[in-house]
C-alpha cells in the first residue's frame, strides 16, 4: 500500500478504535499504534503522534486507566487499560457506529 492509498480517519473514530484495541488486553501507546496498523492492513492513515492526545483525553474522561510497567524488552512504559465505564462507552459507541454505517449503506443502495 502506498501512502496515497491510505484513508484518513473520520473525526472522532480514533477514540473508538483505541477503546476496541484496549478491550482485549492492556497495551502501551506504541503497541496500540502497531496493532491498529497491522489489523487494518495498513489501510488507515493515523499519524502516530496523534494517538497520544487521544489517549490522554480518554484517560481524562475516565474510560481508560494508565499505569507504568515494564515492556517486553524491560523498558519503562506506560500501559493503558479499559475501565468499566470505558467498556460501557465502547459498547455504546460501537452501536452508534454500526447504526450509522448501516444507514449510510441504505442510502447509497437506493
Amino acid at each position: 500500500m502506498t501512502v496515497d492509498d491510505r484513508l484518513e480517519l473520520p473525526q472522532g473514530t480514533l477514540d473508538l478504535l483505541i477503546l476496541r484495541v484496549l478491550s482485549l488486553e492492556p497495551h502501551h501507546g506504541w503497541a496500540i499504534s502497531e496493532r491498529l496498523h497491522q489489523v487494518s492492513r495498513a489501510t488507515l492513515q493515523i499519524p502516530q503522534g496523534s494517538l497520544y492526545p487521544a489517549l490522554h483525553r480518554l484517560e481524562r474522561r475516565g474510560w481508560i486507566n494508565a499505569s507504568w510497567g515494564a515492556s517486553d524488552n524491560n523498558r519503562k512504559a506506560k500501559y493503558y487499560e479499559l475501565t468499566k465505564s470505558g467498556r460501557k462507552q465502547l459498547e455504546a459507541e460501537t452501536q452508534d457506529w454500526l447504526k450509522l454505517t448501516q444507514a449510510v449503506a441504505l442510502v447509497l443502495e437506493m
Binding site: 499504534s33 499519524p47 502516530q48 492526545p53 490522554h56 512504559a77
Partner: protein
C-alpha cells in the same frame, strides 16, 4: 465527572512529574519504532529519522497533550507574569516612576474613600436591621425657607411616639459634653444619654454586666446607672472585671456602673465617641433640677435626636408621612401652650425618616459638600495619574514596536501579545495599589487634621477590609485603563512598516495627545498651587494680624461650679487665691483675673456719656474686667495714661480704661483721659477714664468695631472671674500642668478648664488653614505628577531622538547646544502650562476672593512664586535626560537603530 476532577487536581499539583512522564512515554514510542526499522534492516540514523517522521512534530504533539490536560491558561498566566516581572526589573527607573505615580493617584482616592466611608457610607456598627432604622429629621418653613431643626424636645419625642403607628421601636438619644471623674481627674468628656430601648436597636452584647433596661428610663427621673464604653473601660479602669457596682461621677451626680459595652460600640456617633451611656430621663431630670417635670411637659428645651425602627413592610415614604402627621398634632399641642406660636398651616412642619448618618441627611451641611468636592478633585487627580501612566506605557510600547512586530511575524497571536501587555500593566497597577494603600494610611492622618479637627475618626488602616477592597478595585481599574493605550497600539501594528522603519525615519512621532495631556497637567498644578499660595498668604496675614493681645503665651482658665454652690464672696476670694497661686507656678510669668475672653463671650451693659444722647447709636460697646496685672498678662498695650492698679478697689474712685477706637468715637479730637462715663443709668456716679489701650479684636478676625473698655474687676464683678495666665514659652504646652496645680484649690466637685489662647484664636483661622492645607496638598501632588510626566516624556524624546542628536553632534553641535535643545523642549511645555493655568486661575479668582484675607486673588507675588517653582521643576525634571543627551556618542548613535 468525578474522574475529571481527580485528573484536574493531579494536573494542578504534579506538573513537573507529568511533563517528565510525557517525555518518557513519547521517547519510548520513538525508540520502539526505531528498533522496528533497525530490525527491518535500516541503519540506526535512518531508522530514527523514519520514526520521527512517522510520529509527527514532537513539540506539537506535546502541546496537544497539554491542551487536553487543561489548565493551560495557568501556564500561560505564569509565563506572562514572569515575563512582566522581568520587564519591570529591567527598567527600574521606569517602574519607579510608574509605581510612584499610580501610588499617589490611588493613595489619594483611598484616603478620601476611607473618610467618606466612615462618615457617609458605612452603616453604624452593631446596628440591627440597618435598612429598617432611620433618624428623625424635623423641619419647618421660616421666612419662606425650609429650616432644619437641630435638637428636639423630650415632649416632642413623647408626642411622636404616641401618635405614630409605623414603628416598633423609638429611641431618643443625645451626645452631651459633661465632666466625668472627680477632683484632679475631672475632665470634660462626651457622654451619651439614651432612651431605655436604645440598646434594643443594636445587635450588641455587653462585654461585662448588662445594658440599660427600659424600666430604668422613666419620667420624671430614670435610674442612676451607667454603661461604660469599651475604650474608656480599658484606658481609665485598666479593663478591671470588678468595676460593676462602682460609682462614677458624671456631671453633678454619681452613677452606678452596671455594664461595659462591647469593643467598637459607640452608639450613634456624630463626632467624638462617648465614654459612657446613661438613661436620658436621668440626664434630663438633672439638667432641669429646678423644674424637673418641665422637660417632658413643655416645649422649651430642644436638645435630643430620635432613632426609629420601622415595622416590617413599612417603607420610608409611609413612615415619613406618619411622622409628619404626628408632628402636626404635636405642633398644635405646643401651640395650645404658647399663644404666640405660628400656625401649622404657615410653618408647614414636616418630618422625614431619614438616613442614620447625619452627613447623608438633610442636615449634612457644608461638611458633606466639602468632602464630596474634595473627593471629586481626588478622582480628577486619579484620572490625570492614569493619563500620565498611560503616556509612560505608550512611550514604552512605541519603543518596543519592532520587538512586537518581530514576535507577530514569528507567529505569536495578537491575543496572546495583548494578554501579555495587559499582564504588565496589571502588575504595575498592583504595585501601585500597594504603594497607594501605604500612602493613604499615612496621608489620611494629614487630611483628617485639616478637615475634621474636632472629630476622632479611626484611621483607615491596613486591616480594614473595605479600604483594602477599594484599593484593589482602584488598582485593577487603573491597570485596565492604563493598559488600554499600548494594547490599542499593538493591535493596530502594521508589521511591514514597523520592521522596515528603524529609528531613522519618522519614528519620532510626538504624540499630540501626549503633549496636550502634559500641558493640561501643568495647568492644573498651576491652578491648585496658586490657590494654595493665596490661602497660605491669607493664613499668614491672619496670624500676623495684631489682635490687641498676645496669643501664644496666654492661657485662659475658667471654672465650672458643677453643683458646688459658693456664695459671691467666696467665689471672689477663690479667684483671688487662684490668681496668686498661678503666679507662683514656675514657668508662669504673670496671671490676672478677667471677665470675658475674646471670641468666646462678650459682656455689654448700658452705657451713658454726658453730652451724647444715645451711645447705643454709635455702636456696640463691650466691657472687660481685669485685675491690676491684666494688661501685662494679656499683652495689651496702654497707649496713654495708665492701666489698672491696686488702688482701684471698692470705695476708691471708679475708673476705666478705654480702647482707642472707643476714645475716638465718644470723644473725638479730645483727650479721653479725665472724661466721664456712666453705666446702667444716667444717674449713677461718674466713672473716670484714666487710660487708653490699644484696639482689640474679639468677635471676628475680619471686621470688628473694637469699642471696648476695661473696668477694675474689684470694683465691678469679682465673683464672676476667670483667669488669664501668661507663661514663658508657648502656653499650650503648660496648659495641663497649670490646670492640675490650680485644680487642687477648687472646692468640692467643681473643676477648671484651661484653654490656650492659640486654640481659641486658632479655631477662627480654621477655614484658611483648611484651604491652605487642602490646596497645598493637592497642588503639590499635581506638581509631582506633572514633574514625573515631564521627566518621562523628555526622557523618551531624548531616547527617540538619539539618532538626530548624533547627527547634530557630528555636524558640529557641542554639549551646551544639545542641552539647550532638551531644556528648551521642557520649558516649552512648562510655559504653555503656566500660561493656560495662570489664565484659568485669574478667571477663577473671582470666586475665591471672598474666602481670602487681605490678599488679592490676583496677587502677583503668588503667581510669580508658582511660576518660578514650575520653571525650577522643569529644569530639575529635564536635567537628567539633558545630561544623557549631551553625552551621546555620535558614532554609536548613528549606527544604532
Amino acid at each position: 465527572m468525578f474522574a475529571d476532577l481527580k485528573y484536574r487536581v493531579r494536573v494542578l499539583f504534579n506538573r513537573s512529574t507529568l511533563e517528565q512522564e510525557l517525555d518518557d512515554e513519547l521517547r519510548f514510542h520513538i525508540e520502539q519504532e526505531t528498533e522496528k526499522h533497525i530490525r527491518n534492516g535500516m541503519s540506526a540514523a535512518e531508522a530514527r529519522r523514519r520514526a520521527l517522521v512517522a510520529f509527527g512534530g514532537m513539540e506539537r504533539i506535546k502541546d496537544d497533550v497539554r491542551d487536553v490536560r487543561g489548565l493551560v491558561w495557568l501556564d500561560v498566566a505564569r509565563q506572562d507574569l514572569r515575563y512582566a516581572l522581568r520587564g519591570i526589573r529591567s527598567a527600574p527607573g521606569f517602574t519607579t516612576a510608574v509605581v510612584l505615580t499610580l501610588g499617589l493617584g490611588i493613595g489619594v482616592n483611598v484616603a478620601m474613600f476611607g473618610i467618606i466611608d466612615r462618615l457617609m457610607v458605612r452603616p453604624t456598627t452593631y446596628l440591627r436591621d440597618p435598612t429598617q432604622v432611620n433618624r428623625v429629621y424635623l423641619n419647618q418653613m421660616t421666612r419662606g425657607k425650609v429650616r432644619q431643626i437641630d435638637g428636639y424636645e423630650y415632649t416632642r419625642y413623647l408626642d411622636l411616639e404616641r401618635w405614630t403607628k409605623s414603628f416598633d421601636a423609638f429611641a431618643p438619644f443625645a451626645n452631651r459634653t459633661m465632666a466625668v471623674g472627680r477632683g484632679e481627674e475631672a475632665r470634660e468628656r462626651n457622654v451619651a444619654a439614651v432612651g431605655g430601648r436604645f440598646f434594643e436597636l443594636f445587635d450588641a452584647r455587653p462585654a461585662l454586666g448588662r445594658f440599660i433596661l427600659p424600666a430604668e428610663d422613666r419620667t420624671p427621673r430614670g435610674a442612676d446607672v451607667a454603661v461604660l464604653s469599651h475604650a474608656f473601660w480599658e484606658t481609665s479602669y485598666g479593663s478591671r472585671p470588678d468595676v460593676l457596682g462602682e460609682q462614677i461621677h458624671i456631671g453633678p451626680s454619681t452613677f452606678t456602673i452596671i455594664g461595659v459595652a462591647p469593643k467598637g460600640f459607640s452608639g450613634i456617633v456624630d463626632e467624638e465617641s462617648p465614654v459612657a451611656f446613661i438613661p436620658i430621663t436621668t440626664h434630663a431630670a438633672i439638667e432641669r433640677a429646678s423644674n424637673p417635670s418641665s422637660y417632658y411637659t413643655n416645649y422649651n428645651w430642644g436638645w435630643l435626636e430620635i432613632l426609629v425602627r420601622r415595622k416590617p413592610g413599612v417603607n420610608v415614604e409611609a413612615a415619613s408621612a406618619d411622622l409628619t402627621e404626628a408632628y402636626r398634632r404635636s405642633w398644635d399641642a405646643e401651640r395650645a401652650m404658647s399663644r404666640g406660636m405660628v400656625a401649622k398651616e404657615i410653618a408647614l412642619p414636616r418630618a422625614i425618616a431619614g438616613p442614620v448618618q447625619v452627613m447623608r441627611g438633610p442636615r449634612a451641611g457644608k461638611g458633606a459638600k466639602v468632602l464630596t468636592w474634595i473627593s471629586g478633585v481626588a478622582v480628577i487627580v486619579l484620572i490625570i495619574t492614569c493619563a500620565n501612566v498611560a503616556n509612560l506605557l505608550l512611550a514604552r510600547a512605541l519603543g518596543r514596536r519592532r520587538e512586537i512586530a518581530v514576535r507577530l511575524a514569528l507567529g505569536a497571536s495578537r491575543g496572546r501579545l495583548m494578554a501579555q501587555l495587559l499582564a504588565e500593566s496589571l502588575l504595575l497597577a498592583l504595585l501601585g495599589g500597594v504603594a497607594g494603600l501605604m500612602l493613604a494610611v499615612w496621608g489620611s492622618a494629614l487630611l483628617r487634621t485639616a478637615l475634621l479637627p474636632m472629630g476622632e475618626l479611626p484611621v483607615a488602616g491596613f486591616g480594614d477590609l473595605r479600604t483594602l477592597g477599594f484599593a484593589g478595585l482602584m488598582a485593577l481599574v487603573t491597570g485596565l485603563l492604563t493598559g488600554l493605550a499600548p494594547l490599542a497600539h499593538a493591535g493596530r501594528e502594521d508589521l511591514v512598516t514597523s520592521l522596515k522603519t528603524g529609528v531613522r525615519e519618522g519614528s519620532h512621532r510626538s504624540s499630540k495627545t501626549r503633549n496636550a495631556l502634559l500641558v493640561f497637567q501643568g495647568a492644573l498644578s498651576v491652578v491648585l498651587l496658586v490657590c494654595a499660595g493665596l490661602f497660605v498668604r491669607s493664613l499668614q496675614n491672619v496670624r500676623q494680624m495684631r489682635l490687641g493681645f498676645d496669643v501664644e503665651p496666654v492661657l485662659h482658665i475658667s471654672g465650672n461650679a458643677r453643683g458646688t454652690p459658693l456664695k459671691a464672696v467666696e467665689r471672689a476670694s477663690l479667684f483671688r487665691r487662684l490668681e496668686a497661686e498661678a503666679r507662683a507656678i514656675p514657668g508662669v510669668e504673670n496671671a490676672a483675673r478677667s471677665l470675658t475672653v475674646p471670641f468666646r463671650d462678650t459682656w455689654s451693659q448700658g452705657l451713658f456719656v454726658p453730652g451724647i444722647d444715645s451711645v447705643r447709636k454709635l455702636g456696640s460697646f463691650t466691657l472687660q474686667g481685669g485685675s491690676p496685672e491684666f494688661f501685662r498678662t494679656a499683652g495689651t498695650r496702654i497707649i496713654r495714661g495708665r492701666g489698672i492698679t491696686d488702688e482701684d478697689r471698692v470705695g476708691a474712685e471708679r475708673v476705666a480704661v478705654v480702647s482707642e477706637a472707643m476714645a475716638s468715637t465718644l470723644w473725638p479730637r479730645q483727650n479721653a483721659i479725665g472724661q466721664c462715663m456712666k453705666m446702667n443709668a444716667d444717674t449713677t456716679p461718674c466713672i473716670t477714664v484714666v487710660g487708653v489701650a490699644e484696639n482689640m479684636r474679639q468677635n471676628s478676625l475680619i471686621e470688628d468695631a473694637q469699642l471696648h473698655y476695661y473696668l477694675p474687676i474689684e470694683q465691678f464683678n469679682p465673683q464672676e472671674a476667670s483667669l488669664y495666665v501668661r507663661t514663658r514659652g508657648p502656653a499650650a504646652q503648660q496648659a495641663e500642668a497649670i490646670r492640675r496645680r490650680l485644680q487642687t484649690l477648687m472646692p468640692g466637685s467643681s473643676y477648671l478648664n484651661a484653654t490656650p489662647m492659640s486654640e481659641i484664636v486658632g479655631s477662627r483661622q480654621r477655614s484658611w488653614r483648611m484651604g491652605a492645607t487642602m490646596f497645598g496638598a493637592f497642588g503639590a501632588l499635581a506638581l509631582v505628577l506633572a514633574a514625573l510626566g515631564l521627566y518621562s516624556v523628555i526622557a523618551y524624546e531624548v531616547t527617540q531622538r538619539r539618532h538626530e542628536m548624533g547627527v547634530r553632534v557630528a555636524l558640529g553641535a557641542d554639549r551646551t547646544d544639545i542641552m539647550r535643545l532638551v531644556f528648551g523642549q521642557a520649558l516649552s511645555f512648562v510655559v504653555a502650562g503656566l500660561v493656560i493655568g495662570g489664565a484659568i486661575a485669574l478667571i477663577a479668582a473671582r470666586w475665591l476672593g471672598g474666602l481670602l484675607f487681605q490678599v488679592s486673588p490676583r496677587d502677583p507675588f503668588v503667581y510669580g512664586v508658582v511660576g518660578l517653582l514650575l520653571l525650577l521643576v522643569a529644569v530639575v525634571a529635564s536635567a537628567l535626560p539633558a545630561l544623557r543627551a549631551a553625552r551621546v556618542n555620535p558614532i554609536i548613535a548613528l549606527r544604532f537603530e
